[in-house]
Symmetry: D2
Subunit: 339 residues, 4 copies
């Protein structure tokens, strides 16, 4: 199988490297409008083909699937071209810059029986897989909250703000771990340099008082990647900057006790041990490319991933609306269904 | 000078201990309605006097000043009694449970020429003093944001939610460090256990796109006490859980560059060294009691501290309104002025 | 019961404070030759009695026991005086500056049926108690090694080097955890400033290839307090600088496999989870003073503690000999027995 | 220029990857006796040539230089073959398994005017370069000690013990940073599993009471890579496990004061700020291969690196002798000189 990779900026070369190492991939054809980037990828991986012509790449019969790693605003037009050329599609996150675009891509992929996958790398990490396993076993009890901080001195993007740039990672993790449909979104964003928002706070409300909150920031002197998940039985801290022990499970929880009097304690804390489960170390991106190839081979179209990608875009779009309106809550419409 | 301490719950004994060690204090008289608490303080500090009768304590001529460390809802009635008895007043944070109450206390203290100080312990720590020094020297440049996380597995309070319990610390630090009047407040709070809010997110907006954000939480498995302060020249991380190196100053900043083309970078990051200044280790509470005694002696009434305490209450009251209304922004009225 | 505390330098006041809070202690009499130190303790704890006359203190019938917290070189003469006056004795670590002195004190205490306890505070910490519990349950398997680092920018002592100053803590912990008699000792010490050794490395060998190693240092810019304990089944990291999670137990071990060929792997690593047990937070020194009072009351003389204190002095004395001789191994003589 | 790489075990493929990315390298020819390893490298880097015949590789005129990444015991015979074939030589650390072998290789390279470089990767890291810069500026003052801990759950080696496996890294760093000839070596090693030593402590003494100490360990549950360097003016902590801030410089030092009396303090500590300089992030191995190619091109034979590699072997050989003799100090003979 031959794979096309369109867009060779920061992330594209990582996909090229991983596709080259994925079983079942015979060749990778790289495409970019900038000759400099093509030369660089050729120097790094002399066995790849390069081209600056997307249309001719899409006309080739020997190419089965295409990964699109271009700026967000081009995801829709380029992705649609890829699907209309009958190729399976792997889209970089966020899926598109609007819900409408995401829905059109999903419909097109569905009609043509093509795989549409969104690059949600973090889902494939050993850490997130382990947390999901813990939640599914019921070890956390009822999930109470999800609190994420993803801040660093980051590259300012030009066609997108910090919310669309950084939050998709954590929104993907959230929707992978919390199996409930969110109901509303509110966001505050600040633009210090007359351009796009460089820091933002995002809250997502669920039924039963579950809340998820996100701090994304391009202006932090330190790199923090930490998610707290509170449950009634146990609580989890996922710190991606820890060299080992990325996931810690705390045997701490809260028990409701019968309210004896207004002045008596209504809740009890349970303090206990902490344990840090061993985490699988495989490169997440390699697992993702492998799953993409496997889906393409088995003609299992379209995977639910596209729908989850749409869910992330739906939240981002609502967040953008809240942000523009001063931070009030924006209700989420019903989720898109392919049925 | 003799000092009364009213309320001997969690924090009161710390004030007793520090007053006992403050120069100029001859004796401490402890007052609580629970006999058990009086016995315990007597056992710990055999040289203190104890009484369960507040009125008789306030009638004594040999007592110059009284510290009130009772639950928040009683700060106003007890504090007013103290002032009306002609005693100087040290109030535990938060000052009162409403702006109206705080204003009445300030007016009473002003009319009677009495000192009214609010226990804002953190202001007196070596760390916050050092950060203020750095900001005043202009080392941070323009302050861009203030982001605070104060979370732990905390004792649920009964007469107050997590916002009124934990946020006063960070709001005090914020108003001590950012010398600009805030303009609006928004807050989200979650109540998981049918009582008061146990976690909350609070945003305070300032002119010139400065923002302060606070995460306070009684349900976190880990204790985090971290403040990020972003400036145009340098950035600060204040991590109160670090045994040494609580304050780190990063030589990282952002330079605006002229926009040459749509695709050129509009901002430039400056990466550089980090340094961790040596921090004074004295106990903050001891410095606070010393300043209170010094104010009382010099008859320097009323200190600005009461006004700053009012500022904190004003933000908390607005936050509470935003929280009840679903998180939209609430404008802050003009600050109280004694003139 | 009344307790005398002799020596009010750095550590003495901590003992005073803890004795004041120990059930069964009615009064504490403080003794020091420096009037300044007596004044300071009186100011801090107004209920203590003070005296600069040791002999008169020892003559008093109302004093049952005396804690000696003077410089090491005086432990023997002062301690012997205390015992000869018929008082129970609590000695600061290290017990004495020679094995001969320690043995004489033990004999005197034994003859007079008096309690002789050595202040081995760390043994009473929740962390060391928990590790002992883990080892006793057999969770570690065979202990392979004990590696301790205790370094900081420390106060230079005048009558003792860094080995006698810092190593007693870790030697106490070691002998509390490893229930095997050590066989030899070697030590390297460096004296950078024409006085006493300011850094040292100490190795203690046991039968069955068990080794304990200690790095003690007054010249380290950072404070490190970390002990690694390797076992065949699990391994422990005890980091006393961690605010919570001081003890971590790693499910990592080594299995011997049958040697199939010279080139096959002879050992197998077992990787797995880590857990951090909850640690009791009580102040260790308070538990020690409580145990001392309880021993005195029950007339349980002399506790094994004195013998363990002697074991530490025996290792230090051998280490000193090795250090002077260039670092070669020095065999330990048979341990002292009271039988 | 074409480069041969002999030995494709754990480290060899890293050298292949870096040589492929080094300017001036046209092709890499890989050689191993195991066909499986040749297949694996071909799959990963399809542009390399592979061969299992070392002799034919050495006969080729188009190959200018050869990197030898085989087990230590074969460094001498394979390295000598390479030199006798007239090829420049890059040897994996440690250089050889004896001083005699290292000297013969150096003589051969010198006679034939060939480059002989030893792979001392750590020297090329931004962290070590920065520390050297700090020392050369005189910022540390007089170096007092060098203390290194390199422990982890490591792969047991079969033809070498933990000392020869891990200590060369830190001995290279030490000799790169401390510009004084060491005088003696002592070592303790423990063999828990009837094979080779799996943990060891090594001390290297210098004139003027400078000491270097090394703890290397294959049985540690946690990975520690930390070097403390004490100086009279400043002190350095180099923690290679820190994601950023690997090097911290402490403004703490010790001042000698005139000895006024036996009881006065003889040394004074100076406490102050800490700073963490920005560290260059380039891959060290890439810098090393680039320097090797540059030496070969400029015919600058033989670089001092071989002599430094010999210095490391000299210490290891003396350490081995001390270890076998029970840990006493072994004097180092005069260093080899090419003059």
């Amino acid at each position: 199988m031959k794979i096309g990779v369109v867009g060779l900026g920061y992330w594209g070369p990582n996909l090229v490297r991983n596709f080259l190492g994925t079983e079942g991939v015979n060749a990778v054809v790289c495409c970019d409008i900038q000759k400099k980037k093509l030369d660089r990828i050729k120097q790094k991986f002399p066995m790849v083909e390069i081209t600056s012509n997307l249309d001719s790449l899409l006309k080739r019969d020997d190419i089965d699937a295409v990964a699109v790693v271009t700026p967000v605003s081009t995801h829709f037009p380029v992705g649609m071209k890829v699907l209309k050329a009958g190729k399976h599609l792997l889209l970089e996150k966020p899926m598109t810059s609007s819900v409408g675009e995401a829905e059109q891509l999903l419909e097109e992929a569905s009609r043509r029986n093509l795989v549409l996958m969104v690059d949600r790398t973090f889902i494939y990490t050993g850490a997130v897989q382990k947390i999901r396993e813990i939640i599914e076993k019921g070890d956390l009890g009822e999930v109470l909250y999800f609190d994420s901080v993803r801040v660093n001195l980051g590259l300012f993007q030009h066609d997108t703000n910090v919310l669309w740039d950084l939050a998709p990672h954590d929104l993907s993790i959230m929707s992978y771990l919390i199996d409930v449909e969110p109901v509303s979104v509110s966001a505050i964003g600040i633009n210090h340099f007359n351009g796009v928002e460089d820091m933002a706070y995002l809250a997502v409300r669920f039924p039963r008082n579950i809340i998820a909150h996100f701090h994304v920031n391009w202006l932090s002197p330190v790199k923090i990647r930490r998610i707290l998940i509170g449950g009634t039985k146990h609580m989890v801290v996922y710190d991606d900057m820890e060299p080992s022990e990325k996931v810690k499970v705390y045997d701490k929880g809260i028990n409701l006790t019968s309210e004896e009097s207004v002045y008596k304690t209504l809740v009890q804390y349970r303090m206990g041990d902490m344990y840090a489960p061993q985490i699988e170390q495989s490169e997440a991106l390699g697992l993702l490319t492998a799953e993409f190839i496997s889906c393409v081979k088995s003609q299992k179209p379209p995977t639910s991933d596209g729908v989850l990608g749409l869910g992330v875009v739906r939240i981002l779009e609502a967040a953008e609306r809240s942000l523009r309106a001063g931070g009030g809550a924006v209700n989420l419409e019903k989720a898109f269904s392919l049925v």
